[in-house]
Amino acid sequence: MKRRKFFGKAATLLISSGLLAGMWKKARAKTPEGYDPSLHYYGMGIQIDKCIGCGSCVEACKNENSVPREPFYFRTWVERYTIGKDGGAVVQNIDARLAVSRDIISEKEIIRSFFVPKLCNQCDNPPCVQVCPVGATFMTEDGVILVDSERCIGCRYCIQACPYGARYIHPDTMTADKCTFCYHRLTREMLPACVEVCPTQARIFGDIRSKASPLARFKRMNKLHVLKPSLNTEPKVSYSELDGEVR
């Protein structure tokens, strides 16, 4: 009798824990019918010497993805580096509202200057995905890091974990938000908005595994570097002509 009771209880426990486990779901991206994510693995190349700092990419991104207009919510932004003869570097956001005039180096003292477009690096070893307590931030099969805004609890741990400052809390949804490589466009065979509008083709987008594509050519023709390699985040955004001052 005792034994039967025990087995009865054990069965109840098993079933109930099974039910609980059944509620455990992985977050997934919504893709249109006919799109097969297993056929792709996306990456981006950025040619620093081609960037003229026009800011079209930032504007296009804000429009395409309804990013708040304030000067502190960016999925992509452009930094202006001015390096003085004494080695000192001044960095500014090209958004005029953020450019602080007091930091400017006088023209004669400048030794080199360039623009660096920044965005989520879509890391292959993403710290944000690692730390998200509820699995709301995840990597798609085609290599893009997304946030499921229906699941995100707004704890902001991912923002702390991102070494690139690529994330923010969207003030309307109160969930984490970031560059998605315009995933909704990719799955419809379109380029990310920033790539599409860049007048100098400083941004090159494509499949990392493709053998003949603008991205493959970019990788063949340039010496490449990624941001903060020592953190082992394995970015899928790589830069050519990247200066040592850029962090």
Binding site: E79, V131, P133, P171, L231
Partner: protein, 408 residues
């Protein structure tokens, strides 16, 4: 339409020095996240003080055993509140239990917390008080009688065998409890220490520093409560007990201080890429909260006071006064420690090129008033717990069974 959050952030733009990534203007973990590790630290520290009695048989501390246990419980009950209030979507917090991401340190929160509350604190409390509850309920009237009977889960067995069993269980739970208390607060340290993106946090020492500062703050809190409550009840402070607690506190402060000093020297000596911005952070943004409050007032001064107590045989009243001043200063210092870790870690840019500012709200969900409320709430709960589990009431002598017979 401009969002009110954005509105506040616009003000901060002019206070940024150097360059920060544009999304970094917002300090994401506010004062509430300062309160969270502070509260859990008090829990772990108070519990470890309680375990000294049971596991290491420190007899002088017997009279604060129950006080420490109840203090730990009262603060643990409130500890998750600041986290919950801080979430962008508090109503989704259950996801952390239903859909935990096992690679996330934060996802383990639910499990560590539940383990500590259910398995360690509540069980230990129940077995500690079970016999008392039964005995008390015998001579009480409604409603206390029923409250005590219900909390004892209507058990009635106070035979010697049962009481001995209780004692054994308490000891066993305490032995599990010590590593659990280490786990609870070490884990909070790990949440910060494992963020490689942030050089101010990323340190293998972080869980250990958290742990020892937890022990320091927990013991200091129990001493404070003990020194405030006893005179109010018109009872005399047991100097042997106080001296002993202060002695443990003294050693804990020394270990804590050495660890933090080691961390500091290590950073300076390694002098990594981030050292310049971190020095700027310490010299500008954290000078008062770290240099003055945490180190000078919160550590060196109390250490000096306690050393002088050990060196010179002061009379009782002066000793009490010095102890009291020390524990209040230490409490202040540990709160500053939490502030410096949590807020300090967010005031420099991960580009290592600039500093931002944190502007605390006064009202509002993450404001100063809420913080004060969260710090007072555990004391209110503690007062209620005192009513239900009087910690000072002497246990009725062990000849109990004659008092209650024929029930069940």
């Amino acid at each position: 339409m401009i969002n009110p959050i954005s509105d506040q952030l616009v003000e901060l733009l002019s206070q940024v020095t150097g360059y920060i990534y544009p999304n970094e203007i917002e300090v994401h973990w506010s004062i509430l996240i300062v309160v969270y590790p502070y509260l859990t630290g008090l829990v772990a520290g108070a519990f470890i003080l309680a375990s000294l009695v049971k596991v290491f048989n420190v007899k002088e501390l017997q009279s604060v055993y129950k006080l420490s246990l109840l203090t730990a419980l009262a603060f643990l009950l409130i500890a998750p509140l600041p986290l919950l209030l801080h979430l962008g979507h508090p109503l989704r917090s259950y996801e952390i239990f239903l859909n935990p991401n096992f690679s996330s340190a934060m996802a383990m929160f639910g499990f560590v917390y539940a383990w500590y509350l259910m398995v360690v604190l509540l069980l230990e409390l129940w077995f500690t008080y079970r016999r008392d509850l039964i005995v008390w309920s015998e001579s009480e009237r409604f409603p206390m009688k029923w409250i005590h009977r219900a909390i004892a889960l209507f058990s009635t067995d106070i035979s010697e065998r049962a009481v001995n069993f209780d004692k054994k269980v308490v000891k066993a739970i305490t032995i599990i409890g010590i590593p659990s208390a280490f786990l609870l607060h070490g884990y909070v340290g790990f949440i910060f220490g494992s963020i490689k993106a942030n050089p101010w946090w990323s340190s293998v020492l972080m869980p250990i520093v958290f742990l020892f500062s937890a022990i320091v703050s927990g013991i200091a809190l129990v001493i404070t409560l003990y020194m405030i409550i006893l005179p109010f009840k018109g009872e005399k402070i047991d100097m042997k007990c106080l001296d002993r607690m202060a002695s443990f506190l003294f050693y804990a402060v020394i270990v804590d201080f050495s660890l933090e000093l080691l961390d500091f020297i290590h950073r300076l000596y390694e002098s990594e890429e981030s050292i310049r911005i971190l020095s700027e952070l310490v010299m500008n943004k954290l000078f008062i909260s770290l240099g003055i409050i945490q180190v000078l007032l919160g550590m060196l001064l109390p250490l000096g006071l306690m050393i002088s107590i050990k060196l010179f045989k002061f009379e009782e009243e002066l000793r009490k006064l010095l102890y009291f001043v020390s524990v209040i200063l230490i409490q202040l210092g540990i709160f500053a420690t939490r502030w410096n870790v949590v807020i300090g870690g967010q005031m420099f840019s991960k580009s290592f090129r600039g500093l931002t500012t944190y502007k605390m709200e006064i009202t509002g969900l993450e404001g100063l008033l809420m913080t004060l409320l969260l710090l007072v709430l555990p004391l209110v709960i503690l007062a209620i717990l005192f009513k239900i589990f009087p910690p000072w009431k002497e246990s009725v002598p062990d000849t109990g069974p004659t008092l209650v017979t024929g029930r069940g």
